[in-house]
């Protein structure tokens, strides 16, 4: 459409030029994702927060107002506190372990040797297995009588353990499966990160006489920090949503040593049908995740080196 360069108003003065209003177009484009976000994220969060204020369980036909009683019950419940502690332990152990293992694997496999593509595929393989089937296979590995883990232990003269049946070893055994499952997946991100690093800085470092250890900590690791943050975030999410392997391998036992926050929520809601308590525990989970997300957004993100 042809338009005059300067619009002239009724009094002959030029009218200030405004950017053409985008109208509803952008909102329309955002609508599909807004609907999904509202339906599956925002609405459930609000409705959990509301339900958490009621005694909504099998003892009451209609939900009864509870105020903060569900939260009081949570923080005086040994099982809830134990589940919270187990989740924290799960995160504190599996996040650094899987991230460091992944970096190490990536460093080892980021070179041109003959078997490298086979090895990359081998370490990536656990990622392709559904977690439930992987956990079932590990159930067999950990079997106290004929499981391969105990066969190895006996071969080296150790004492066989009931890995998943002993309160001392059950959580470490489950965490090991998570680390094994995630490390190969994270390795792929680090491999991609390593391959995009500029080679000139390494040449310069070598000329200056930096050894490999210094090169790693002074150059590689800082340059990989966006990858590390991304991978650590995924690992954090995986730690807090750990459920399948616990469901399949231990059912939260023995003595609740593998009961995590999410397992607790599931148990309250779908085993005991205590929806009020399940919702209250969900609120605690949401608060923790939001706190970590904000911390990431406003603190960690500033420390990360982006090119």
């Amino acid at each position: 459409m042809a338009q005059p360069a300067v619009k002239v108003g009724p009094a002959g003065k030029p009218v200030k030029r405004r950017a053409p209003s985008p109208g509803w177009g952008p909102y329309l484009l955002l609508l599909p994702s807004m609907i999904l976000l509202a339906a599956f994220t925002i609405y459930p969060m609000i409705s959990s927060g509301y339900l958490a204020l009621f005694h909504a369980n099998l003892a009451n036909r209609e939900p009864v107002w509870a105020g903060v009683e569900n939260f009081q019950a949570l923080f005086t419940s040994d099982l809830f506190l134990k589940s919270l502690k187990n989740t924290v332990v799960f995160a504190v152990v599996t996040i650094p372990a899987s991230v460091l293992l992944a970096i190490w694997l990536a460093l080892q496999l980021n070179r041109k040797v003959r078997s490298v593509s086979f090895l990359r595929a081998a370490y990536f393989y656990p990622t392709m297995l559904p977690l439930v089937s992987a956990a079932s296979v590990w159930n067999f590995f950990y079997n106290p009588n004929y499981g391969p883990v105990n066969l190895l232990v006996r071969l080296f003269g150790g004492t066989a353990q009931n890995w998943l049946g002993d309160p001392q070893t059950a959580l470490p055994a489950v965490m090991f499966v998570s680390i094994w499952k995630d490390a190969g997946y994270f390795m792929i991100f680090f491999l991609a990160g390593l391959q995009s690093l500029p080679s000139d800085v390494f040449e310069a470092a070598e000329l200056d006489g930096a050894n490999r250890w210094q090169q790693f900590w002074k150059i590689t690791f800082p340059l990989l920090s966006p990858t590390t943050l991304f991978v650590a975030t995924i690992s954090f999410i995986n730690a807090f949503k750990a459920m399948d392997q616990i469901f399949v391998m231990t059912g939260g036992g023995p003595e609740n040593t593998t009961s995590t926050l999410l397992f607790y929520i599931w148990q309250q809601t779908f085993q005991f049908w205590d929806k009020g308590m399940g919702a209250a525990a969900s609120v605690v989970l949401i608060v923790i995740l939001l706190a970590v997300a904000l911390f990431n957004q406003f603190y960690v993100d500033k420390k990360v080196h982006y090119e």
Binding site: N57, L58, A59, G165, D166, P167, G253, P254, E255, N256, Q271, F272, W273, D274
Partner: protein, 160 residues
């Protein structure tokens, strides 16, 4: 040797030579025991026709001859005394004595635990049983804790 439900006798008998295996009741420590379980039939309060139809269906499912046939095929204990006298069950016991061994254990059975918040109470007991089995608590302490936990779960139902 397996510890298993009597409901597996039928399928095991189909895979193993019945002459080569037998069925025994659970061994006793201080006293015999026999854990029971099973499904229930409910009729919900709706309109009269649906209730009558449901009742007809319940009677169909629980006819002595049908119960006896079901038990003979699966190994599940007949859930009516009259079914124990019915021909399919008598024939099954005559053909394989293991059926009777399982049914005999019924005399040591207790009613199933049924209370408010049953799942929570069962978990309170299960947690303490695990503590006894893993050796982290002695029987007396663990059972006292189970009682305490169950009381706490049921407190809301006590008359004040």
């Amino acid at each position: 040797m397996i510890f298993h439900t009597t409901g597996s006798i039928g399928s095991i008998k189909g895979k193993l030579d019945p002459a080569k295996f037998g069925v025994a009741p659970l061994p006793a420590g201080k006293s015999f025991g026999s854990p029971t379980g099973g499904g229930n039939l409910y009729i919900l309060k709706t309109d009269k026709d649906k209730q009558a139809a449901a009742w007809k269906f319940v009677r169909f499912l629980t006819e002595p001859a049908r119960v006896a046939q079901w038990s003979a095929d699966t190994g599940y204990i007949p859930y009516r005394k009259s079914a124990m006298e019915a021909k399919p069950w008598k024939d099954a016991v005559a053909g394989f004595a293991g059926y009777q061994a399982a049914a005999d254990a019924l005399q040591y059975a207790q009613p199933e635990l049924a209370t408010h918040n049953n799942q929570q109470v069962l978990k309170a007991m299960g947690d303490q049983l695990q503590a006894i089995i893993t050796g982290s608590k002695d029987v007396k302490t663990a059972l006292a804790q189970a009682q305490k936990d169950a009381d706490a779960i049921l407190a809301q139902f006590q008359k004040k």
